[in-house]
């Protein structure tokens, strides 16, 4: 075992004593649960679409080690390097992201992927954490210098990305990014009038989506009144929880995965409920709550605006995705395709999330005296 003394000043030793180890453990547990649940759910999906049974399990395992490596590597970085790497990656992925519209790989009616050999890269997944870093930088500049056009840049870049997402189309992702941007600007001190204005704007968009997009309207209608139409997938997911009960039917014994098309992704939470019962359901909810709330609690007294803006942005993204996914699975929200962070199948998603959580770990390390560059203001003393 690693045995590191508190006086160890090497990079690893210093990291070990300043990092939130419980936080890292939570992420590992979530990844572990993810692998187990993909093993339980994906063979049914793979068999159905003609892959060999353990196709998805192998691919997920293939991405686990690089993900952990990225998470731990990033967590070693100081805030300045986080910003540099984040912004550089953002520029890179923004280009790839725009390329999806031109040379993207199309599947299930959406053009979100770029093909590299057998690996399909989804740039939008990487856009999420890197965009957060970029806008956090812009907004923190705005906070120290009121003449800096932080909001304008943030809103402009966000609108560019949202436009591309609407073209792909990937409405779920657009919703999450809008929410994250809004939360970041809110925390950065957006005037209360703009907060109200944006909220109203959001509601108007939601209302018009309901009026002009029939599939949005039908999803909301079916949520409000399950009898008004076919709510088969969500009903099936609900039945899964019912079927599982307290202790579940046992690993592999569930049947919901035979019915639901995305049992290894969007509906993996239902598989957890059916095969492992309410025990695992509650454990997953508690783990996500712990991850998000503990992350926030670490930055409540943070004086460095870049740090708390980045951290809150990434935590909002992960937390929101988790809440929406679990909410849809348990029919607390209208149906919306959304993956469950760290648990659902998906290589790009896992890599990007690991990068994001690595950033959070790096920024929430205990710092006694940190050297900040000129552009990252050092609190207010």
């Amino acid at each position: 075992m690693i045995n590191l003394g508190r006086t160890d000043r090497s990079i690893i030793g210093h990291w070990w004593w300043t990092v939130d180890r419980l936080f890292i453990l939570t992420v590992f547990i979530l990844m572990f649960i993810g692998v187990i649940l993909i093993m339980a759910s994906s063979p049914a999906v793979a068999d159905r679409i003609g892959f060999d049974s353990f196709h998805f399990v192998r691919r997920q395992l293939f991405f686990i080690l690089p993900s952990i490596f990225i998470m731990l590597s990033v967590s070693l970085l100081p805030p300045l390097w986080i910003r540099r790497i984040g912004v550089a990656s953002f520029c890179l992925f923004l280009i790839l992201f725009i390329l999806t519209l031109i040379i993207g790989y199309e599947t299930k009616g959406a053009q979100r992927w770029l093909q590299f050999g057998s690996f399909l890269l989804q740039p939008s997944e990487f856009i999420k954490p890197t965009l957060v870093i970029f806008t956090a930088w812009m907004l923190s500049e705005k906070m120290s210098d009121r003449t800096f056009p932080g909001y304008t840049i943030t809103i402009g870049v966000s609108l560019l990305i949202l436009t591309i997402l609407f073209l792909q189309p990937d409405i779920g992702m657009a919703m999450v990014i809008s929410a994250v941007m809004f939360v970041q600007m809110f925390i950065a001190g957006l005037s209360i009038y703009f907060v109200i204005l944006f909220s109203i704007f959001g509601m108007v968009i939601a209302f018009f989506s309901y009026l002009f997009f029939p599939h949005v309207a039908s999803r909301v209608d079916r949520f409000l009144d399950p009898k008004s139409g076919d709510s088969y997938q969500v009903d099936t997911a609900l039945n899964a929880f019912d079927n599982g009960g307290l202790l579940g039917t046992g690993p592999g014994e569930g049947v919901v995965k035979e019915i639901l098309p995305d049992a290894h992704a969007d509906f993996i939470f239902a598989v957890a409920g059916e095969e492992f019962g309410i025990i695992l359901v509650l454990i997953i909810i508690i783990l996500f709550a712990f991850l998000v709330l503990r992350g926030f609690s670490k930055i409540l007294n943070e004086n460095n605006s870049f740090i708390f803006l980045t951290t809150s942005g990434i935590l909002t993204q992960i937390g929101l995705q988790a809440v929406i996914n679990m909410g849809v699975n348990m029919r607390l929200l209208p149906a919306k395709g959304m993956t469950l962070p760290f648990i659902s199948y998906g290589g790009s998603s896992l890599l990007a999330l690991s990068f994001g959580i690595g950033v959070v770990i790096a920024l929430t390390r205990r710092r006694a005296n940190l050297k900040f560059t000129k552009s990252i203001p050092e609190g207010a003393n």
Partner: protein, 569 residues
């Protein structure tokens, strides 16, 4: 502290006026708390929802697989006969239901379902599926084969619910004893209805007094006679004369309680316990017993039966007229209505009524079955009623009451009540209650008269060598509005065996038998009911531990003691 919070709140609203970065960071920290709070609420909602969904959700379970959810949680107790033969128990079975909203092509689904389900047609299923309801039963409690076939169809929205199904391994054999149970596990008739609460509350098995072997012989012989004489119905009961235990009870036509379709009214009707009939001459022993008991007559006395008897506007005739003076044994064995009417007149209304009451004829039977009819007795009981009742007209009772009354007459005069439950703790039943109805002496005389009737009277065709059978026939026209119909008769025979130590009474009845060539187109009880009982006794005697004997000591003794007037035949 309060000041600080006030300042923070002020900051949220007035931040645009501040350009101090310190104030901005204070504001951010407050807003971080807001986001923290929102996430806390979201996660708590998810937590509560999952608990609500899994632990508190009581909606009926929808199974994809063979889950073990059960609607009929309550297990009915098993029912056995006196020899531990299983008569009613439960098995798990699947019920098929549909959620029409999930069915893609309702017409196709209906065609497929109709092709594998028995007794279900396409249009009925389609009508159900398109009724707009969100939940409908397709078929309850199907067979394993149907379950398998429907499962194999793999129609989305067609689901299974596991339920307990009550089954009766003996099928229709005990239809009028055990009765039937509905799909919702409630007893609908017979013991299942009468003891519904007891069967649901305790899983302790119930043991009945019936004997499956005897029941089978009884049902088969009744069925054969019913077919032979083209009767519309038949009924029979076998009872232990000492304990009142019912060994067999059959009413035909009957129904198969395993088939969850309502039987026809006729099949569901118990001719043993629910139907009240004018029994005719089988009533004669009651009046004779009362007259002997009250010393109104002795066996050596007799009445003039040379011509029909006129009583006000009624004329009483004999079915087998001898047109001479008849002794009491002769009146009994030739079933003379004229003699009986005069005997009833001498006996008097009150004494006749008193004995009938003690024999249980005038009250509703307390047997543990749900279908028990109330006897129909005249509101005013005058001398003329008394005279017609003496030969079984003007009063309607059920067969079980008559069987029970005969049991009392031959068992030495001890009061018994019929029971269907083995080891009944109820003290009013069986031997425990030693109330005497008639004397031992009168009982002996009645036994002799019954034996005489089979030996040389109207019921000769019931005689079976070695069984010392005694009994009395009854032939009655069925009443209609304002009179009797000559064409429809009820024939009955109440047999007791063996006569030297009476053990069992077998009462049977044929509803509207017709004369056939073999009986020279006679259809009276002596030709139809009596031989049936003879056949039954021949079959059930050995089962009931009554072996044929060669000794006729009892009969010799009886003849020497009581019957001084020899028959002329």
């Amino acid at each position: 502290m309060v000041k600080k919070i006030n300042k923070m709140i002020k900051n949220i609203i007035e931040n645009s006026n501040k350009d101090n970065e310190k104030n901005l960071i204070d504001l951010s920290q407050v807003r971080l708390v807001v986001i923290f709070g929102i996430f806390s609420i979201l996660f708590i909602s998810l937590f509560l929802r999952s608990v609500d969904l899994i632990l508190l959700n009581q909606t009926p379970k929808n199974n994809f697989s063979s889950s073990n959810s059960i609607i009929n949680e309550k297990n009915r107790a098993d029912i056995f006969d006196r020899n531990n033969m299983l008569l009613a128990t439960n098995v798990n079975s699947a019920s098929i239901y549909a959620k029409p909203a999930e069915i893609i092509n309702k017409t196709e689904a209906s065609i497929k379902l109709a092709s594998v389900l028995n007794n279900q047609n396409f249009s009925d299923i389609e009508k159900k599926l398109t009724s707009g309801k969100s939940f409908i039963w397709i078929k309850r409690q199907v067979s394993p084969k149907e379950h398998f076939e429907v499962n194999k169809l793999g129609i989305p929205g067609i689901k299974f619910q596991e339920e307990l199904k009550r089954i009766f391994p003996q099928e229709s054999l005990f239809a009028h004893v055990i009765g039937s149970v509905g799909v919702d596990n409630q007893g609908l008739s017979g013991v299942e209805k009468k003891l519904n609460k007891r069967l649901l509350d305790s899983t302790k098995s119930i043991f009945l007094t019936v004997d499956t072997r005897v029941q089978h012989a009884l049902r088969q012989e009744l069925y054969l006679s019913m077919k032979k004489f083209n009767a519309i119905g038949a009924a029979g009961v076998v009872m232990n004369v000492n304990s009142g235990e019912i060994i067999g009870l059959v009413s035909l036509p009957d129904f198969n309680p395993n088939i969850k379709i309502k039987p026809s009214d006729d099949a569901a009707f118990s001719r043993v316990t629910l139907g009240s009939y004018e029994m005719g001459s089988t009533f004669k022993p009651f009046t004779v017993a009362a007259a002997l008991e009250n010393k109104v007559i002795s066996l050596k006395d007799g009445y003039d039966a040379t011509k029909p008897l006129k009583v006000s506007r009624f004329i009483i005739r004999d079915d087998h007229p001898k047109e001479r003076w008849l002794s009491v044994p002769e009146i009994f064995k030739y079933s003379s209505n004229i003699g009986m009417a005069q005997m009833a007149k001498d006996l008097g209304v009150e004494k006749q009524k008193e004995l009938l009451k003690k024999l249980g004829i005038l009250d509703r039977s307390k047997v543990e079955l749900s279908e028990v009819g109330k006897p129909i007795i005249p509101r005013t009981w005058r001398e003329i009623n008394s005279m017609t009742i003496s030969y079984g007209h003007g009063i309607a009772v059920n067969l079980l009451q008559v069987a029970n009354a005969y049991a009392i007459l031959v068992n030495g005069g001890k009061k018994i009540t019929p029971t269907i439950l083995l080891n009944n703790d109820n003290e009013s039943n069986g031997y425990v209650n030693n109330e005497r109805v008639i004397s031992e002496e009168t009982s002996k005389k009645i036994r002799g008269l019954l034996r005489l009737t089979v030996k040389s009277g109207t019921a000769k065709k019931a005689d079976r060598i070695g069984y010392e059978i005694g009994g009395k026939t009854g032939t009655a026209e069925k009443p209609t509005k304002g009179g009797y119909q000559k064409d429809s008769i009820i024939t009955s025979f109440i047999g007791v065996f063996p006569m030297d130590r009476p053990s069992y009474v077998i009462a049977i009845m044929l509803d509207e038998p017709k004369g056939i060539k073999e009986t020279h187109f006679y259809r009276s009880a002596g030709w139809t009911a009596a031989p049936t009982v003879g056949n039954i006794i021949e079959r059930v005697g050995p089962l009931l531990d009554v072996m044929p004997t060669k000794t006729k000591n009892y009969w010799k003794n009886f003849e020497a003691t009581y019957i001084s007037v020899k028959s002329n035949e």
